[in-house]
Structure formats: C-alpha cells, structure tokens
C-alpha cells in the first residue's frame, strides 16, 4: 500500500483520495464502521472468536480427547467416554514417578534460579550507573536470543567426558579420569537453569529498579544492618517480581522436552518424555497422552497460582 502511495504521488488525486472515493470502499466502510456499535462488534467479534477458538480450543479439545477410549477415531466405530486414561496414570509407578519428579525438579530449579539471579539483578539495579545498566543488561540478553536446542548442545559440549570442565579438572590435577556429568540430574539442572535464568532475571531487575534506594537508606538511618535491610525492606518489596519470575520459570521448566531428552538419562525421565511417547512411539494412545497432559497442566497451573497467591496476596491468577 505504501508503495502504491509513492507511485501515485505524481497524479492529481493522491492514492488515499482515490481509494476513499471508490464506491466499493465507501460501501465497505459504511457497512463496517456505520455506527459505534458496529465498530465495537468488528473489533470484538474477531478477538473473542480468536481467543476462544485458537487459545482455549486446543486445551478444551485435549480435555475432551482425554475422556475418549480411542483417538484418532477409527472408521465405523464411535468413541466411548471413559475414565480409563486417568485410571491408567494412578495404576503404574512408571507414570507417577516422572510426574512427581518433574514437579519437584521444576520447583527446585526455580528456587536455584532465584538464588543465582537475585544478586545479579541486585547488582545491576543498585550498583551500576544508569547509563551502564542497559549495556550490562543487553550483554546478558544476547545468549537469550539463541534457541533452546543450540544452547542445550552447548551445555553438552561443556559437560561431556571430553568436555571443557573435565579438561580443566584434569589439567588442575583434581581428577584422574573424567567425571561423568552428562545424562544425570546435574547436567539437566545446569542446562535448564541456563535456558530459564533470564525469565527470572528480567522481572527481578524491573522490580528492583523501581524500588527507591531511599527506603534502604531510611532503614540504615534507623540502625538496620545490611542483612536486616535486605530481609525487611528489599525482599518484601520485590515480591511481585519474585512471584512472576518464579511462576514463569516453573511453568517453562516443567514444559521442556528436548533438553531432558538430550541432557538427562534414564534416572531423570521427566513427565514431558512420558507424555511424548504416547504421541510418537505408540501412535494410537493419544487419549492417554491427552489425559496425562491435562493432569500436568492442571497441577502446574494450580501450583503456580497458589504460589502467586502466597507471595503476592493482592494478585489473582497465575498470569506471569
């Protein structure tokens, strides 16, 4: 459209003028924007249809399929509603174990990420001049733009038996043979923290940046020591940032699939791998996979919501 406008600049009537005087265009605009109510429906209808159809639809359909005894449907046979897919989850420990492992793992990693990134965010917000803050923050954002798979692969190279860490340890004479870091909970944790750290860092930074330094100074004048100031002033006043950072990291880290496959081992099977198996290896077990996904989604959102409510009581819902 812009191109047409440029071309038509030489004409007497400009592009927009010509467009507006087309009878078809006039009719269209009167039809769409004839009254405030029509304008409202034009904007509202598509928005509401899209969020219901594209955002809520997949979740509801997954819930529906989770109650069917067979999906995708086979010809000449109506699927029957059943609870068997949910019963299956509670009957076998190979399903229950990864489920709780995922939740425990995601919680632990969220806590670890918080502890690791809080000093970094605090340093940026409090000890760096305003001009340099953005530069130092941008530096941290660069690796964030690199995709999940590439960063997971980078961790594989770091921690492998011939990896950089083992080379360094051997060179320092600390070990004789390489330590098998890979395919353990350790390598998986390092990888997931690597992927999610910035989702924690950004909310923490923006919460700390908004907090006036004068609050801490006032507390210092009243005789509070460094630790007391942090515990009584800074920490409570940044809990909004802590809540949204933790919610994001918890939900994101419980949803990784490729990273556990590449960095984890048999002892660290997470629920995402369990669920994925029903879709890839055993092609006809979609309803079971759907039921398991529903259980996980519900639990993850409930935990995130409860945590949010606990940490910042004024906010409602799990929206990060």
């Amino acid at each position: 459209m812009m191109g047409d406008a440029a071309v038509s600049r030489g004409d007497r009537v400009p592009f927009w003028g010509r467009t507006v005087s087309l009878p078809f265009y006039k009719g269209l605009v009167t039809f769409l924007f004839g009254s405030p109510r029509r304008q409202f429906w034009l904007l509202a209808s598509f928005s509401i249809i899209w969020v219901l159809f594209a955002h809520l639809g997949p979740i509801l359909q997954m819930l529906h399929v989770s109650f069917l005894d067979g999906y995708p449907p086979t010809a000449g046979r109506e699927p029957v509603m059943t609870l068997a897919n949910y019963e299956r989850f509670f009957s076998e420990s190979i399903f229950i174990l990864p489920f709780f492992r995922t939740l425990a793992f995601a919680s632990l990693l969220t806590a670890a990420t918080l502890v690791i990134t809080y000093p970094v965010a605090y340093f940026l917000a409090r000890h760096v001049r305003r001009q340099r803050q953005l530069a130092l923050l941008l530096l941290l954002l660069i690796p964030f733009w690199v995709g999940e798979i590439v960063r997971t692969y980078a961790i594989m190279i770091l921690l492998g038996n011939n990896g950089a860490v083992n080379l360094l340890l051997r060179w320092l004479g600390l070990v004789d043979r390489p330590i098998p870091f890979m395919y353990t909970g350790f390598s998986l944790s390092i990888g997931i923290i690597y992927l999610t750290a910035l989702y924690m860092l950004l909310p923490l930074y923006s919460a700390l940046e908004k907090l006036p330094a004068s609050y801490s100074e006032a507390a210092a004048d009243l005789g509070a020591g460094g630790w007391t100031r942090f515990r009584r002033i800074t920490l409570p006043l940044t809990r909004e940032g802590i809540a949204s950072g933790c919610t994001l990291v918890f939900l994101i880290s419980s949803g990784y699939y490729a990273t556990p496959v590449l960095l984890g081992g048999p002892a660290t099977t997470v629920f995402a791998e369990t669920v994925a198996r029903f879709f890839h290896v055993a092609g006809d077990e979609w309803p079971t996979g759907a039921a398991f996904s529903c259980l996980m989604l519900l639990t993850a959102l409930a935990i995130a919501g409860a945590f949010n409510r606990l940490v910042s009581p004024r906010r409602v819902g799990a929206g990060g």
Partner: protein
C-alpha cells in the same frame, strides 16, 4: 562492609556472564576442530565444517524452510495481535474484557510440551495436516500474547486527540487507523515482529510435534544429535546462533528506541 558486598555482587554478575557465554563460545570453537570427534583438547584447526554448512543443500533448504515459517507466522501473529490489542485498548469498560485478556495470555503460560500436544490434537480435529501450515499456525498462537502485550503498551500512550483530529479532517475510522495509529505503532510492531521471528525460528517443541517430513532447523539439529555429536553440528548451530544474535540485538535496539520516545 558496603565495599565488600559490592565486590561480591560484581563477582556474581561476571560469574553469571561467564556461565552464559562460555558454553556458546566453546561450541563455536569446536566447529573449527580438525577431527570428527567432539572433545578437548583441540590440536589442529580447520574451516572445513563451516564451509560444509554452505555446501550442504539439505541444511540450506532447512534454513530457508525455517525462515519461511518464521516470516509467515510473524505476519499472522502481528495482524491478529494488533487486532486484539486494538479491541482491548478501545473498550476498557467492556464487562468481559478481563476474561478476553486472560484468554489472550493463556498460550504464554501453558508449558511447552502441553502446548505442542494440545495443538497437535487440535490440528487433527481441524484437519490441518502436519507440515508447514500446522507449524505456522502453532507458532502464531504461541506468539500472539507477546504481540498483544507490546502493542497494547504502545497504544495506551497514543493520545486519543490524534485519531480524533484525523476524524475531524474527514478520515473514516479505517483511514485514521492506517494513517495515524499504524505509523505510531511502528516501533512496537518492529520490536514485537523481530521477537516473533526469533521465537519461531528457535522453536523446537511445536515444530517437532506439528512438523511433517521436512524438519525445521532446531528439529534438524535435534535429529542429527541422535546419531552423535560432530563438529558439523557445531557449525550449523553456530550459523543459527550468529543469525539469531544479530537479529536479537537489532530488536533490542529498536525496543529501546521506542522506550526512549515514550519517555520523551
């Protein structure tokens, strides 16, 4: 006491920078190793693996395919996201607004694997075959919440008097939107668009579950990793890394310019 804590915090920051950068640097370096086996130490160096990336027709076509998906899904999510943002911004007293807003953000809080699986089931219901359009659709759904958040932040700073002035001068609502609102939104649209491009180009889980026989770049790296690590994968990953890092820095700058304009 104060100096000590500052030194400690500075160390924490720089240690974090090392943690973020060293693995990626090692990965780039390993692509120059003159051997088939991944691992240190590197005794001799070669450019062969990097040159190989540009000779490998499969890799090049996968690059193109990923780029096509990224562009299509970005255009789609920008259009849809702007539409929803315009609605949420114009009718702030609409009773169901919070519900629509919550549903808009829903795809952003659903864990990745569940999002991929629910979209896979849904695509089956809608009759969308796994492949290009299924991936584009899933990426668009995932990206819309981010577009809405960025565009609404910008829209809320547009003084209503500007579109009203256009209306007084005889513009109909559509012309006022195209010639006043859209130019005002430009920095937000560029920033959100680049963000969507990166999210789509880097996405693994949705592309993996909704893809047909043609892999996207992350899926290709994932499947090649199954047959073992090799410097060839390092070279492919590095090319992807350089591309995304350049685009990311560009995005960051355009977003910063927008914030500066807003503050001014």
């Amino acid at each position: 006491m104060k100096r000590n804590s500052r030194a400690f915090l500075a160390c924490a920051y720089w240690a974090f920078v090392v943690y973020l950068f060293v693995p990626l640097m090692l990965m780039v370096m390993m692509g120059f190793k003159d051997s088939k086996f991944i691992g240190f130490p590197i005794r001799s160096w070669t450019l062969e693996w990097y040159l190989g990336v540009f000779r490998d027709t499969e890799v090049l076509s996968v690059f193109g395919y990923s780029l096509l998906i990224a562009i299509l899904s970005t255009v789609l999510s920008l259009a849809i996201g702007t539409w929803i943002a315009a609605f949420l911004n114009s009718y702030r007293t609409f009773p169901g607004r919070m519900l629509v807003f919550g549903l808009t953000l829903l795809p952003a809080v659903v864990p990745g694997i569940i999002s991929a699986i629910s979209l896979r089931i849904y695509a089956r219901v809608l009759g969308i075959e796994p492949g290009l359009w299924a991936i584009v659709w899933s990426h668009a759904v995932h990206n819309v919440p981010f577009v809405v958040l960025v565009v609404i932040a910008r829209l809320s700073t547009l003084p209503p008097s500007q579109t009203e002035a256009a209306r007084d001068l005889g513009a109909d609502p559509l012309i006022a939107f195209i010639r006043v609102t859209v130019p005002y939104l430009r920095p937000a649209l560029i920033g959100a668009g680049i963000f969507c491009l990166l999210l789509s180009f880097d996405d693994f889980v949705r592309s993996f579950f909704l893809g047909g026989y043609d892999p996207t770049l992350p899926v290709l790296i994932f499947t090649r990793l199954h047959s073992g690590m090799s410097p060839e994968i390092n070279a492919i990953a590095t090319v992807a890394l350089v591309l995304t890092a350049i685009v990311g820095i560009w995005a960051e700058r355009s977003m910063r310019r927008m914030r500066k304009e807003q503050n001014a």
